[in-house]
């Protein structure tokens, strides 16, 4: 497919990388020549230098003959303008990044009148992901499928856990809960395990199942589960705003922000939260603001490195749940080694949404991608596919299906029920199925996971 990306900033660059890996023809428009040069050198793309919100630039990029236009500049207004123009030039679908909270109210109108196919708000989706983690603090990561009914959560196996040394097929017997371990990360290696895989201490396991079953599992594993009643957000960013709004009524929120004007804005719009004008990077400030007593700390400054260091500091201080915002996913491996467990990456989340949309667009037959999440630090893809009305693999027991190597059918969602499939379960039309596979292969439809 031919895709035009306007704005080669953080999201733009990541999108360029992901979409060019998926094999699409990409054109990138940006005002910064150097940035374009980098893109042209690293990825197989065409670049256009100019203002993406002008007809000239869009014509030069041949937007009219493209399949999709993604506007990811730093200004919402510009993005919306780009989409308006692009639609006029005839592109069938557009995606705009609209991050300002002020515009969320009118988004439905905008989408309808401007013909937007999708808007992404990286900060809002990141805030929601952090919210999920705060509500289920034992999980290091939570990815939801089937409208929240099924999940994949990441847990760390502590050395004294009763699961250490056990084989996977013993799991259900031992716990008597319907869950499945669909991926394991041990050190640097990632494995999609089969039944006789043996767990060991400090493995990061990714468990899938119905949400309440996963909660039960966590209890069974006696991973200390505490309800989060107080949160400190370091950095008064947009994410902090969305998060604080969402946490209203659930827990006490304190925001530390270094810019006085911003503090006033936040205080005005978040009456229930406590806004403190302080430099959250100073240890003494953090202590005096109650770091040691907080249930959770979320580091949300603009600088990844600061977030990592502050999180390490909070963990040292024994804060129960520490969540870190890291935009540069290259830091993730390093941060994880330093004991920073829960990482949220706004631009990755948005890119996943867009990639899912693109794959769904690309897939003309049924059996397309409903949800796309990347787990194990982007190394594994968890895809939810809709099962088409007729296909050769329907009503065939799973153990008889010839599925490609390294792919696992983790979960079947049928009419509201979550089924952890065994060998004799089968796929039925109308189901949605969660499939786990390594990120080297990119699947856009259910048919692709079977051997031909």
């Amino acid at each position: 497919m031919r895709i035009v990306i306007i704005g080669d900033g953080k999201v733009g660059v990541t999108l360029t990388e992901r979409l060019s890996k998926e094999g699409h023809d990409l054109v990138v428009i940006d005002q910064n020549k150097r940035v374009l040069q980098e893109a042209a050198n690293q990825y197989d793309v065409l670049t256009v230098h100019g203002n993406g919100a002008t007809m000239t630039a869009q014509r030069e990029a041949d937007v009219g003959r493209s399949d999709l236009m993604i506007a990811a500049t730093s200004a919402d207004e510009v993005n919306l303008l780009c989409c308006l123009l692009a639609r006029k030039l005839g592109v069938p679908r557009t995606i705009a990044r609209v991050r300002s909270p002020e515009y969320t109210e009118q988004l439905p109108f905008l989408k309808e009148d401007l013909g937007l196919s999708m808007t992404i708000n990286p900060e809002y989706t990141a805030a929601m992901e952090i919210l999920n983690l705060l509500r289920f603090p034992a999980a290091l990561k939570r990815d939801r499928f089937s409208r929240g009914r099924a999940e994949i959560i990441e847990l760390k196996l502590s050395p004294d856990s009763f699961l250490c040394g056990r084989k996977l097929y013993e799991l259900m017997q031992l716990t008597k809960i319907q869950v499945l371990i669909c991926a394991v990360e041990r050190g640097e290696t990632v494995m999609i395990p089969s039944g006789d895989f043996q767990l060991s201490a400090n493995d990061n396991i990714y468990v899938t199942g119905a949400s309440r079953n996963l909660a039960a599992l966590v209890q069974k594993m006696s991973i200390a589960e505490r309800k989060i009643r107080s949160v400190i957000l370091i950095g008064g960013s947009r994410i902090a705003f969305y998060l604080a709004m969402a946490l209203k009524g659930e827990c006490a929120v304190k925001i530390l922000e270094i810019d006085e004007e911003r503090c006033k804005e936040l205080a005005a719009s978040l009456p229930h939260a406590r806004v403190v004008h302080a430099d959250g990077t100073q240890p003494e400030t953090l202590i005096s603001e109650g770091l040691a007593e907080a249930d959770a700390v979320v580091t949300l400054t603009d600088i990844d490195e600061v977030n990592i260091v502050l999180s390490m500091y909070a963990t040292r201080f024994g804060v129960y749940k520490v969540i870190t915002k890291i935009n540069r996913i290259e830091y993730n491996d390093l941060a994880l080694k330093m004991g920073v467990n829960s990482i949220v990456s706004p631009k990755s989340i948005s890119c996943n949404e867009i990639v899912r949309y693109v794959r769904a667009m690309n897939n003309t037959s049924e059996g397309g991608v409903l949800t796309l999440h990347r787990i194990v630090n982007e190394k594994v893809e968890a895809l939810e596919f809709s099962v088409p009305a007729n296909a050769p693999y329907l009503e065939v027991p799973l153990k008889d299906l010839r599925i490609k190597q390294g792919i696992l059918i983790a979960c079947i969602h049928r009419k509201g029920k979550i089924i952890i499939p065994g060998g004799s379960d089968f796929l039925r039309s109308g189901d949605s199925v969660i499939v786990v596979a390594k990120s080297d292969e990119l699947y856009s439809s259910l048919n692709e996971i079977f051997k031909q």
């Binding site: 094999g23 023809d25 050198n41 990825y43 197989d44």
Partner: protein
């Protein structure tokens, strides 16, 4: 330096070369030249063997950058020339390896300078291979590889190869993916070649002469299979060749725009108009100058047009011995040799777009002398041309002059006179073919001393690849550990 990747590229190219050498056997078989068949097969097998050997180390995922691109291009071209010389050498048709190498380099770089004093005595199979090197070298060997197989999925690194080999001050892709871009270029190239073949066939040209002429025209090379180059063919054939030489000297992105229906944008290309204007003007001047040499004005113009087109597009075919023409015409021809064809075509020379930009820069300087505070911007085709591009052009000119003077120094050891030495160097550096005097259209490069031949080979390669790739081979900076070599300080003298 990512050696594995470089080896991989060279390996692929050698394998492709081996495949292309084989048809020469069939040609020789057809003409009953049995003695040549075995040498050709041996050459192909040797080339394939080395190619397969180089493909063995798997390149892996390590990335490659500009320097690897340049080195890969430079070494590839050296290697294909060395192995491409084998059919000539092993069969004994060209006894000296240096001469075989010269002829092959001349082929791939689409120069068309020959060390053969009697072309027609060469077996047809070898004549086929000789002309085919023009066709492959014209659009580019690496471009061919990229068209056939996308080098890295999603990675933009193959653009370094494209940039290293393609001529012109600013190289850009036609479409987002390098692989698609290369395919489109070759598609149009093949299309035009076929068209020329058809038109020449309609003119009654024998099929063997036809394909060798098409190869020589498409690559703007100039190897002919007759001693009198194109002189012996009918006027219709000469005119068709004139037209197609001009066509192959046009920037291929103009053809792409035409194919895409963007006719207005295509016609707005400034380089195209300057290119055509220079050809027209040169033809007019020369026609007037040589009017006494031909019986009718029509013939005069036709002959002038052929030579002008041939030299400007750096093809090198000849229908008349322009060495005998008056001095004004010879100077016009020399000037055309310098200017060359359009960027993004198969022609050589400085390239019309560079000349155009230099002229615009000169005009800007003149304006600045009068109004020092005024800021003017150089524009081409409606787009602004950055200072880094201009910088590149001036540097290219500088290198070019240095190489030309140094080469002339070496060639002067033949003592053939300034006119011959200058024309020989200029002809090779600009990939034209014939010069003046002993290496003129009626002569050859056979009588130059071995050192000169080596230098001329280097010139041909430098010209075709526009200097940079070879500079990379000899510059120590390209091979070091990216600036991390430890050098102990010299102790200062007290």
């Amino acid at each position: 330096m990512n050696y594995k990747m470089i080896a991989n590229v060279i390996g692929r190219i050698l394998c492709i070369e081996a495949v292309f050498i084989l048809p020469a056997c069939l040609i020789s078989l057809y003409y009953g030249e049995m003695a040549v068949i075995l040498p050709i097969v041996i050459s192909a097998l040797l080339t394939a063997a080395v190619g397969m050997l180089l493909l063995q180390p798997k390149p892996g995922q390590t990335p490659y950058y500009a320097r690897e691109g340049f080195v890969a291009v430079a070494l590839s071209w050296l290697m294909i020339s060395v192995f491409g010389a084998l059919p000539f050498y092993i069969s004994g048709a060209i006894p000296s390896f240096l001469d075989s190498f010269f002829e092959t380099v001349s082929g791939f770089t689409t120069t068309g300078a020959s060390i053969l004093s009697d072309v027609e005595s060469l077996p047809k199979g070898l004549l086929y291979w000789r002309s085919f090197t023009h066709w492959l070298g014209g659009m580019g060997v690496l471009v061919f590889v990229l068209a056939v197989h996308p080098m890295s999925k999603g990675g933009g690194q193959s653009v370094y190869l494209l940039r290293a080999e393609s001529p012109g001050p600013e190289v850009s892709k036609l479409v987002p993916k390098t692989h698609s871009s290369a395919k489109i270029l070759y598609g149009m190239y093949i299309g035009l070649s076929v068209l020329q073949f058809v038109l020449l066939a309609l003119g009654g040209m024998p099929w063997f002469d036809n394909i060798t002429t098409v190869f020589g025209t498409a690559g703007t090379g100039g190897f002919a299979i007759r001693g009198d180059s194109m002189g012996g063919y009918s006027t219709y054939i000469q005119v068709v060749v004139t037209v197609f030489m001009t066509l192959f000297g046009v920037n291929f992105s103009v053809y792409y725009l035409l194919v895409m229906g963007k006719i207005k944008q295509a016609l707005r290309n400034e380089e195209l108009w300057l290119y055509l204007f220079i050809q027209a003007a040169a033809t007019a001047v020369i026609s007037f100058n040589i009017r006494s040499l031909f019986p009718t004005m029509g013939q005069t113009v036709q002959q002038a047009a052929f030579q002008v087109s041939s030299i400007m597009t750096t093809t090198g075919f000849a229908t008349a011995n322009f060495d005998l023409w008056p001095e004004l015409s010879k100077w016009v021809i020399l000037l055309l040799m310098f200017i060359g064809a359009s960027a993004g075509s198969t022609g050589g020379g400085m390239k019309v777009s560079r000349v155009l930009l230099m002229a615009k820069a000169a005009k800007r300087e003149r304006k600045r002398a009068v109004n020092p505070r005024e800021v003017t911007v150089i524009r081409m085709d409606g787009r602004m041309v950055g200072d880094d591009t201009m910088q590149g052009i001036w540097m290219y000119l500088t290198y070019y002059l240095i190489i030309m003077l140094a080469s002339m120094l070496v060639v002067s050891t033949n003592s053939y006179g300034v006119e011959v030495s200058l024309s020989a160097v200029v002809s090779c550096l600009n990939n034209i073919g014939p010069g003046f005097g002993i290496c003129g259209p009626a002569g050859s490069f056979a009588e130059f001393n071995p050192l000169s031949k080596v230098v001329l080979c280097v010139d041909m390669l430098l010209g075709r690849l526009e200097i940079m790739p070879f500079l990379m081979l000899i510059a120590p900076a390209a091979w070091n550990k990216r600036g991390l070599n430890w050098r102990p300080f010299r102790t200062a003298r007290r």
